[in-house]
Every structure is written in structure tokens, then in C-alpha cells.
Symmetry: C2
Subunit: 715 residues, 2 copies
């Protein structure tokens, strides 16, 4: 086993190494003219300043939790939390550092050819992707190796389990702050900048006279890049950890328990290799089909992963395994479960492209509705956003059923792990979006020829879809993984309850009925169900307030400095960044703490009203409730937002409606489409994506609550 574990760690290191090597090569690319460099430097400075301040704030929350984890659970949990938090933060920071360097280089490359622009942008995305996947694998496998191999702790013991879960919690906590803070920043800048610039002052998007433009570009990097990277890091780490925990529970006492715990790590490790290989296949063909080029890389990764996962599973699992529940699982069934995970990924990619791509019914219907006005654009966009949830949900349902039939709950866990295995490639597709968005902004501000902007716009439109894909993928894996986390919760609970001598809190509490006929289960479902809605409402209001602060500042600059409008003086970009930084950090705190505190509040409330068994039942049901509504809220927001954004792009390229009339930039239809795009902004880049870490946090807090109660430090 030991050798394989070190191989996994090597695979994680390979991912990071790939990132470092590619970064070195990326840095050599041409950064264009002085004006471009100047703009890029301003974006870099703003992004670094924001992230530093954001992480300082999160750090304060983190230290409190670190101490609490140490006191309430133990040193290994505290250290695990620290590792997860620091690495998740680093993944975000690295994503930002890469993208603020890639943006200007992409603008320059795009001024040469679309193909070169795509190459550079995708390469920067791949760097972030490999940092995320490699870093997460290094963190989880590395800490596991230290605990079991170096310190010699029992792999299925509480110290190791609690340490790994705490690592997941650290990653989740950072990621919700990063997603939300970054999301509020980027959309506050975007919405506020558009309102005061495009609507009030009548100047184009990304016009250098708008003091919010730099902030808008900073936002792409701290939100869509850093926030996304931290989010995917979290998804990757939590899923791997949850599968390991489930393996420890299901195969406790069996000779192959260590193999089964290693299995998710090994699958992830080999998929890093296939992702790296796939990344070399992203090349623009003669047809200039950007999405096709990206798909090429993704398909290569997928196909190679099928073989690789088969190899890993059949090598490690040499014969049938039996769970503590008595279910016998054949190795091939585990492989088929892994395939289910890859199939779910593929299906979600295709469905998301259908709902957010420029060439399909949904986006075109939104474009068409824009012709009759703002209201109908929004109605159609909302309708699309609601409808877009159905197919992904059915895919997830089918994924659950098939993998469960194959290999029980562990089959679902393996499907989820394999799905996340290719995260490096998926992140690569996503991170390329904000880079091209930024490149477009730089091209505009630096006054590059309009063909450059045309190239970056083409890349950006595809970026809108790939961004939606990643979000659908992350939330889809959460839907599939919900059962895994829930199973970890119930199994932990059962274990504690059956060993009351060691865990006195769980003594004599009777049977915990997770049955739907238990009203406390319904209470938990409803309470969990309300969280994504309340969270969505709070985060959208936060964006509104952040945008207002930007509007006020830009208005002030226009008013106090009339030279800005006539290009005689430059606006104070830094001031807008600074104001937004403070607004975003202030606004991210309360919604981020909602999922951290809610499980504890519900547990204590039901404990007070009823008894321990019902409190645990309500808490468990809450985990399921938050996923049931969260899945739909998140998918509807991210797909709807993507559809609105691309409907606007479709019109900007000249949209011919049913009556043969062509609508372009500046038309009434375009104005309506801009409204939809504005509405979609916080939907798809703030509230929607933050639901994924929110779901995870709720689940992990519940697991940690069990750990705290089991430790005997409370109760």
C-alpha cells in the first residue's frame, strides 16, 4: 500500500510541477505595449490588494475556528483544518496570480491570431487547473500519509478520520468566503460599472473613463478565478475525504480497508496524468471552432481516464470486497461506477452547453424575447433558468440509481470521486474564461484594433458556457456526493451510538429515525431547504449594495473631475477598487456564516424541544434538504445567468429575429439583453456558485459536530 500512496503523492506533485513549468513558459510570452502593461499592472495590484485583505479577514475567522477545533476535537483536526484552509487559500491565490499575468499576454496573442489567443488563455487555465487538482491531492494524500505512515496512527481511527474531515472543513470554509467575497466584488464592479457607465454616462463597456473598469477586471480575477479555484479545490478535497471516510466505515476490520481508502486517491492521481495529457490536445482546428478545440482536450482526457481508472481499480482491488453491511462488491462493478461518474460529467457538459451555448434554442429564445423588451427578456431568461434544472437533476438521479445498483453507497462514492478526478481539466476550461474576459477589457482600454476585441469576444462567449459547465459540474458532484456525506454522517452516528462506553453523549438515546414519517425529519428537510433560498437572497442584496457603492464613487469622480469625460485626466481607479474591497469583505461575512451556524442552531433547538435522537434526525434531514433545494437553485442560477450573458452576445453579433429584422449593438433589443445580462451577473457569478460550498459546509459542520460530541469536550 505504502508505495501506491507515495505514487499518488507523486501524481499530486506532478500536477503542481506541470503548473510551475507552464507558468515559466507563460511568463515568457509577449506582454504587448506599455499601455497594456500599465493597465495589467493596475489590475494585478488591485487583485493582490483585494485578496490579501480578504484572506486577512478570513484568517481571523480561521484562527478562532482553529483554536476551537484544537480544544474541542484535538490537534490532528486542528492541523487538518489548517492544511485545508491554507491550501484552499493558496489555490485561489495562485489562480489569481496566473490570470492577472495571462490576461495581458492573451490580449497580445489574440492580436496575432485567434488560435494563439486560445492557446495562451487555455494554457493559463490549465495551470490553475493542475494547481487545484494537484494541490488538493497533495494535501489530502500527504496529510493521510503523515498521519498513518509517519505518525503510525490507525487509518480507520478517529484521529485520522477527524483530521481528514477537518481538512475538508478548512477548504470549504475558505472557499465559501472566497466564492462569496470574490463574487460580490466582481459583480458589484460589473453591475455598478455598467449602471453608471453604460446607462448613465452613455460610454461603452470597459471604457477607460469609467473609474470602475479596473475594478471590473480585478473582479474577474478575484471572483471567477480565485473564487472558482478555491471552490473547486474544496469540492475535490471534500469528495475525496468523504469517500475515504466511507471506505474506513464500510470496510473497517477487513484486510483490504487500507486499499479501499487509497482507492479514491489513486483514481484522482491517475486522472491528473490523463488531464495533463488531454490538455495538450486543445488546438484550434481550421474551422476556428473554439468549443470544438476545448472538447477535443476534454474527450481525450475522458477516454484515457476510462482506461486509467480501469487499470487502477483492477490493480488495487484484486478480488470481491465485502462491506460491514454484508454487500459483496466485484472490482469490475467499482470500475463501472467510476464510468458512471465520467458519464455524468459528460452529460452535464453537454446539457450545460445546450442551455448556455449561443447556437441552441434556450439562448436564442432569450435573444428573441429581448426584441419585445426588458420584461420579456427577463421572463424568458427566468423560464430557461428554471427549465435548465430538470435534465441535470435527471442525470444525477440516474447516476445515483446506476452506481448504487452496481456497488451500493460505495459505488456512488466512487462515481463522485471519478467525476472529480478530471477536475484539473474542467478547471482549465473554466479559468480560461475570465482570462479572455480580461484580455478583452485590456484590448478595449489600450485601444487595440477592433479585430482583437472580436477575437477575445469569441473566446469570451465560449468562456461563458465553460464557466457554466464548471458550476454545473461542481453542483452536480455535490448532488451525487450528498448521499456520500449523508452516509458518512449516519454511519458515524451509528458507530458512536453502538459504542456508548467510549462516547457517553450517545448513550441511551434510542433509535434515530431518519424516516420521512418522523416530523422532525420534515422539519429538517424544510429548514435545510430554506438555506439556499435565504443565502441566495442575502448574497444578491449584497451585490446590489456593493454596486451602489461603486455607482456613488464613479458619479463622484465624474462630478468632481470633469476632465475625465474629455480624456484630459485619468479617473482614480484605485479608489474604486478600494471602496469595493471594503464593501465585498463587509458583505461576505454574514451569508458565509449562515451554513456554518445553521446546523448547530437546528440541533440545539430540536434537542431543547424534543430529544437527542430527534435532534440528530432533524440535523441529518437538514443535510438532505439543503442539497434538494440547493441543487436546483444553483443550477437554475448558473445556467440562467450563462444564457442571459450569451443572449446579449448573440445580439451584439447581429441577431435576426423571427420577422427577419436584424438587431445589433445599441438596438432596443440589445438594451433589453443588457438588462438580462445584468440580472444574470449575480445569479451566475455570486449566488449560484456559492451554493456549492454552502452545501458542503453544512454537511461537514454536521460531521464535525458529531466529532465534538464524541470527543466528550462538550455535553
Amino acid at each position: 500500500m505504502t508505495n501506491y500512496l507515495w505514487l499518488v503523492i507523486a501524481a499530486g506533485a506532478l500536477g503542481v510541477l506541470y503548473g510551475l513549468v507552464q507558468t515559466a513558459s507563460l511568463m515568457k510570452a509577449d506582454t504587448g505595449n506599455d499601455k497594456m502593461r500599465e493597465i495589467a499592472a493596475a489590475i494585478q495590484e488591485g487583485a493582490s490588494a483585494y485578496l490579501k485583505r480578504q484572506y486577512t479577514t478570513i484568517g481571523m475567522v480561521g484562527v478562532v475556528i482553529l483554536i476551537a477545533a484544537w480544544l474541542l476535537i484535538g490537534q490532528y483536526a486542528a492541523i487538518g483544518f489548517l492544511i485545508g484552509a491554507v491550501l484552499s487559500g493558496l489555490a485561489g491565490f495562485a489562480g489569481m496570480l496566473i490570470s492577472v499575468r495571462a490576461n495581458v499576454r492573451t490580449a497580445q496573442a489574440a492580436s496575432q491570431s485567434l488560435s494563439k489567443g486560445l492557446d495562451l488563455a487555455f494554457r493559463s487555465g490549465a495551470i490553475t487547473g493542475m494547481f487545484v487538482a494537484g494541490g488538493a491531492l497533495l494535501g489530502v494524500a500527504g496529510y493521510y500519509a503523515v498521519l498513518t505512515e509517519v505518525l503510525g496512527l490507525e487509518s480507520t481511527g478517529r484521529e485520522v478520520i477527524d483530521g481528514l474531515v477537518a481538512l475538508g472543513f478548512g477548504a470549504s470554509l475558505i472557499s465559501i468566503f472566497a466564492r462569496l467575497g470574490g463574487g460580490i466584488f466582481t459583480k458589484g464592479a460589473d453591475v455598478g460599472g455598467d449602471m453608471v457607465g453604460k446607462v448613465e454616462a452613455g460610454i461603452p463597456e470597459d471604457d477607460p473613463r469609467n473609474a470602475a473598469t479596473i475594478a471590473d477586471n480585478v473582479g474577474d480575477n478575484v471572483g471567477d478565478c480565485a473564487g472558482m479555484a478555491a471552490d473547486l479545490f474544496e469540492t475535490y478535497a471534500v469528495t475525496t475525504v468523504a469517500t475515504m471516510v466511507l471506505a474506513a466505515i464500510f470496510f473497517r476490520g477487513q484486510p483490504y480497508v487500507d486499499v479501499m481508502m487509497l482507492l479514491p486517491l489513486a483514481i484522482c492521481g491517475i486522472c491528473i496524468v490523463t488531464s495533463i495529457i488531454g490538455s495538450f490536445f486543445v488546438r484550434l482546428g481550421k474551422s476556428n471552432n473554439i468549443m470544438g478545440a476545448l472538447y477535443q482536450g476534454l474527450i481525450v482526457t475522458g477516454v484515457l481516464s476510462v482506461g486509467a481508472v480501469w487499470y487502477v481499480i483492477t490493480t488495487l482491488v484484486t478480488g470481491p470486497v465485502v462491506t460491514t453491511g454484508g454487500l459483496q462488491i466485484e472490482p469490475m462493478n467499482l470500475f463501472w461506477s467510476g464510468l458512471v461518474g465520467l458519464a455524468v460529467t459528460a452529460a452535464i457538459v453537454v446539457i450545460t452547453e445546450y442551455y448556455t451555448g449561443s447556437n441552441f434554442r434556450p439562448v436564442r429564445s432569450v435573444a428573441n424575447a429581448s426584441v419585445s423588451g426588458h420584461g420579456t427578456n427577463v421572463i424568458q431568461g427566468l423560464a430557461v433558468s428554471l427549465e435548465a434544472t430538470a435534465l441535470p437533476a435527471i442525470v444525477i438521479i440516474v447516476g445515483i440509481v446506476v452506481s448504487f445498483q452496481l456497488a451500493g453507497l460505495f459505488g456512488i462514492a466512487i462515481a463522485t470521486t471519478t467525476m472529480l478526478g478530471v477536475a484539473g481539466m474542467i478547471v482549465a476550461l473554466d479559468a480560461f474564461g475570465p482570462v479572455t474576459d480580461n484580455a478583452g477589457g485590456i484590448a478595449e482600454m489600450a485601444g487595440l484594433p477592433s479585430e482583437v476585441r472580436h477575437s477575445t469576444d469569441a473566446l469570451d462567449a465560449v468562456g461563458n458556457t465553460t464557466k457554466a459547465v464548471t458550476k454545473g459540474y461542481a453542483i452536480g458532484s455535490a448532488g451525487l456526493g450528498a448521499l456520500v456525506l449523508f452516509a458518512a454522517y449516519t454511519s458515524d452516528l451509528q458507530y458512536f451510538a453502538s459504542n456508548p462506553a467510549d462516547y457517553p453523549f450517545f448513550a441511551n438515546m434510542g433509535v434515530v429515525a431518519f424516516d420521512l414519517t418522523n416530523p422532525y425529519v420534515v422539519v429538517g428537510l424544510l429548514f435545510g431547504g430554506l438555506l439556499p433560498f435565504l443565502f441566495g437572497g442575502m448574497s444578491m442584496m449584497a451585490v446590489g449594495r456593493a454596486a451602489e457603492s461603486v455607482v456613488a464613487e464613479v458619479r463622484r469622480q465624474f462630478r468632481e473631475n470633469p476632465g475625465i469625460m474629455t480624456f484630459q485626466t485619468k479617473p482614480e481607479y484605485g479608489k474604486a477598487v478600494d471602496i469595493l474591497t471594503r464593501a465585498a469583505i463587509r458583505e461576505m461575512i454574514v451569508p458565509s456564516l449562515l451554513p456554518v451556524l445553521s446546523p448547530i442552531v437546528l440541533f440545539v433547538a430540536v434537542l431543547f424541544i424534543s430529544d437527542k435522537a430527534n435532534a440528530f434526525a432533524a440535523l441529518g434531514a437538514m443535510l438532505m434538504g439543503v442539497i434538494v433545494t440547493g441543487l436546483f437553485v444553483a443550477i437554475s442560477m448558473t445556467s440562467g445567468g450563462g444564457a442571459w450573458d450569451n443572449a446579449k452576445k448573440v445580439i451584439e453579433e447581429g441577431f435576426t429575429d423571427k420577422n427577419g429584422v436584424v438587431h445589433g449593438k445599441g438596438s432596443e433589443a440589445h438594451k433589453a439583453a443588457v438588462t438580462g445580462d445584468t440580472v444574470g451577473d449575480p445569479y451566475k457569478d455570486t449566488s449560484g456558485p456559492a451554493v456549492n460550498p454552502m452545501i458542503k459546509i453544512t454537511n461537514i459542520v454536521a460531521l464535525l459536530l458529531l466529532a465534538v460530541l464524541a470527543s466528550g469536550s462538550i455535553g
Copy 2:
């Protein structure tokens, strides 16, 4: 017992009688001048034509189901279905007939004074309210009396239970068609008319030159009145029936089982009396506070109901009762449960007023966001709509916990029944809204002085809130009642499974695990959860298409008949009504059948993949899933829509923003607010309210599926 049952029927008859007497008095009111009468006649004609065509279409679906019910379950189920369907249809038709007569009389009364306008509008609402409550009670209690007293069937036997459940299904089926068809009609007219009139032609709302105006007014009557009446009829009937079924299951074999089955009917009966009394207390005080006047009536009804429910419960239930599960319930605990129902009603009224009333933070925040543009208006409105779900959900959670602690599942059932008991009064508050909306339209079209319009607008603004209240109330009762329906499902299932000799389909199927650890339960939750989203998306797109057909028609009329714009020729109002009628009826079919067919599809699919036990588990979980997401989707849509509508009204009255600038009709802020209002229209009047009957249908179809399988005609 018998005497009390006839008393209940008498109370139902009293409600209907009140309606008839008040109608006679209403008809005597002044109908204004010839022009007003002419307009009103056109509205009447359009509304009748639409409803006739709608009910003919529904009738065809109904006949198929009637025959199926007869063949698959039996004659009593078929007759019950027929009664429920016919009465629900009649309730809708009556609501429409009243409101198309009250609208012109209210316009005339409002031209004399606000107080007279309120009096007339509310009186017409109260007529509809009493028809709905009285009719539903007559239907349920009457059919129950015929089955048990006249035909002498056993009250807890399958014939009676299936007959009552089928009655509920008949009511639900009609109501979803009526809600959806009416909702698509009314919002198609509203959205389409506004788009082509206000936006394109630049003429005001309700301008007689717009061919869609009559259709818009027709829509208020067939959607907000007829649809709402059918919906509330359904809610009332289904809740009463579900409580009776639960009583039959819980107290089977006890001497007081008939008393317990009578209890929900008796509570509803006495509450009809208190609602009638309360309706006389709606009088406008010197302060001209319309909401205050309505509250006065509601509070009187509420306070009287407390005493009345106490009297009924303590008279009928003379000592502790014991369920088959062994739970002993004191009569006073049943009374306290009833009080919980009234408290939930009061809380939902207050919360809904907060979120949709013109004087509170949410509506004012939407008005304020309108100042910065269309996009921010919509963002803030969506944020409010999401946030607005949290408090009602918590109220429902607390209601479930408290009534369950008091008297177990039967306590929840009594709470829900009592909540629905005062439906007559709640419907009165609601039905008054569309009447005043119509009155405003007639005033505008007939060229009455602007003060009249001012009065009707003031009434209409309150109507927006009361309409949102009714919807929150209906969906809230569904949330509370979900457990009752689910309990009926599980108890029925348990009963069949424990008597395999009589019900061979249920033999040897093993334990049905409704446990959240069963993946098929999660599958059911997710599948149920997707229905409200998909349904919402489909119905909003339907409104979009219906609106487009209106736009095309009005454009054609303007183009082909230039005299319309110069007031020389009248537009062809009937043509627009006709086109919309066809569109609405075409569009209502598929979404309405979604909840009818989904339970069957899921059951068969899981049966095919797994086994009977898991198929029943998935189906049960689906019922819970549809309520968990449906509750939030419905509340967010209805509250958000109300907030948008009133934000527009606030601006029309002159809104002073944070910087002291006043925005009024025609301002940029007003245009943005109109966009929000347009978006809110299908949200609050089509998709949102139709979720309530959708949830019920899913539940009842599941119950009927059990009945079919038990009958042995299939399987």
C-alpha cells in the same frame, strides 16, 4: 353523530345562501353610464366564452379520468371525482360571474367615495369566498353523508375513503387547469398588452385603443378570480378529506372514530359562521386605511373562531382519544392544535404584508433599486423573492413542531384544517383585488374622472398584497398539510401491506424504507424536487408565447386599421380575446399533466429497476420532495411578484429616493419598475399559485395509485 353531520351540511348551505342573498343585493347596485355598461358587457362576454371553452377542454380530460376511476377503483370513486370536479368548476365559474358584475358597479361606487368602492368590492369578494367554502364543505360533507348515512357504507371502509380522496382529486385536477389556463390567459394579456401598448405604441395602460385591454380585464376575472376560487376550493376540499382519512386510519375500530372523522367538517362548518360574521366588520374608518378595514374583519373572524373551535372540539370530543399507534390525545390538545392553525394564518398574513406592502423595507428597496435601472430593479426583486421564503418556512416549521408535540400527526391535521376553516374570509380578501383592478380598467376606458382611478388604484395596491396573502396562505397550508397527505399515504400502504390476503399486490414486498439512507428515497426527493422548477419554467414560457400571440394580433390591428390610433374606429377586442383563449387552452395542457403523470412514471421506473418496496419508497419521497422545493418556489414567486407590482405603484405615486429626488409616472425609475412588474406578473399570477394545486395533485395521484393497486384491477 348524524345530527351534527347535518348541522355541518347546514353550515355549508348557509355559506352558499349568504352568497346568493348578497348577490341579489349586489345586482341592485348602480352600473354607471352606458359606456361603462358596454365595456363591462364585453368583459363578461369574453370571460364567459373563455371559461366555457376552458371547461369544455378540461371536461374531455375529466371524462377520460372519470371512466378510468370507475374501471380501476369503483363507482364511488368515480362519483366522488365527478362531484369534486364539478363543484370546483362551479366555484370558479361563480367567482367569475360575480366579479364581472361587481367590477363595473365598483367603478361606479368608487366614483362616489372610496368607502363605497371598498364596500362593494369586498362584498363581491365575500360572495365568492362563501361560495368556495360553503360549496366545498357541502360537497365533502354531503357526499360523506350520502355514502355513510344514506347508503349505509362503513365510514372507515375503502369505498368511503376512496370516494373522498377521488373527490379531492377531481377538485385538484380542475383547479390546476383553471389556475394555469386562467393564469396564462391573464398574464398573456397583461404582458402582451403592456409590451405592444405601453412600450411600442406609447399609449397608457388600459387605453381603449389597445385591442388587448378587454382581454386584460377578462384575464383578471378568469385568472385571479375563477382560477383562484377553484384553487382555494381544492385546498379546502383536499385538506378536509385528508384529515378525515387520517382520522379513519388513526382511530379505526375505536367507538369515537366517527366523531373524529366529523371533527374537521365541524371545525370548517363553524368557521363559515365566524367568517360570515367577520365579513360585516369590514368598514372603512375615518383614516381611510383600507388594509386596516380588511384586517378588522379578519381579526373578528379569527377571534370568534378561537371560541368557536374550542366549543366544537370540547363538545364533540368528550374525553381523551387514543390512536392506533397508542398515542393518547387530550381534547384540549386538539384545541391548541387548532389554535396553531389560526396562528400560522395570522403569521403568514403579517409576513406577506411585510414583503409585499408598500410601506415596508422590501417594496421600498425594490423601488429604490429602480432608480438605478431595469437590471437593479430585477436583481433586488429577485433577492426579495428569495428572502421572502425564509420566515413563512420557519412559521410552518414551528407549526409542525408545536402541533405535533400537542397531538401527534393528527394535531398537524387539525391545525391545517382550522387554518383552512377561515378560507371563506381569506378568499373574500383576495377576490376583492381583481374586482378593483377591473374597476380601474373600466374607469380608465370609460373616461371617468382621474379621482375615480385614484380610488381604484388605492384599492388595487392593497389588492396586490391581499392576493399575495391568499397565495402564501394556500401554499403554507400545503406545507403544513404535506405531512398529513404523506401520513395518509404511508398509513394506507401499511394497511394494504398488512392485509396481503385482501390486497395481493402488496404481498411479500418486504419493508418499505422511507429512510433517508435509502438511495431510492433520495431519488424520489430529487425527482419530486425538480417538478416545481420544471413546471415553473414551462408555465412561464407558456405566458411568453401567449403574450407573443397578443402582440402579433394588436400590431396587426394597428397596422391594418390606422383609425384605431386616432380614436376613429374601435379595435376588435373580441379577436384578441379569442386568440388568447386558444393560446391559453393549448398551453395549459402539458404542464397540468406533468404532476398527474410524474408519480406514475417514477413508480413504474423504480419498480422496473428495483422492487415494489423501493418503488413505494421513491414515490413517497417524491411527495415530500415536491413540497420541499414547491413551498419555496411558490412563496418566492408570489411574494416577489407582489413586491414588484407594488414597487411600481409606489413610484407612480411619487417616490423620493435616498438622495431626495422624486420619481413619478413616466420617469426612468418608473420604466424600470414596469419591467419588474412585467417579470412579476407570470411569477405571481401564473407559475407561483399553480404550484399549490400541483403539489396536491402529485400527492393525491399517489394515494389513488395505491387504491388502484389495492383494487386488484391492475398488477
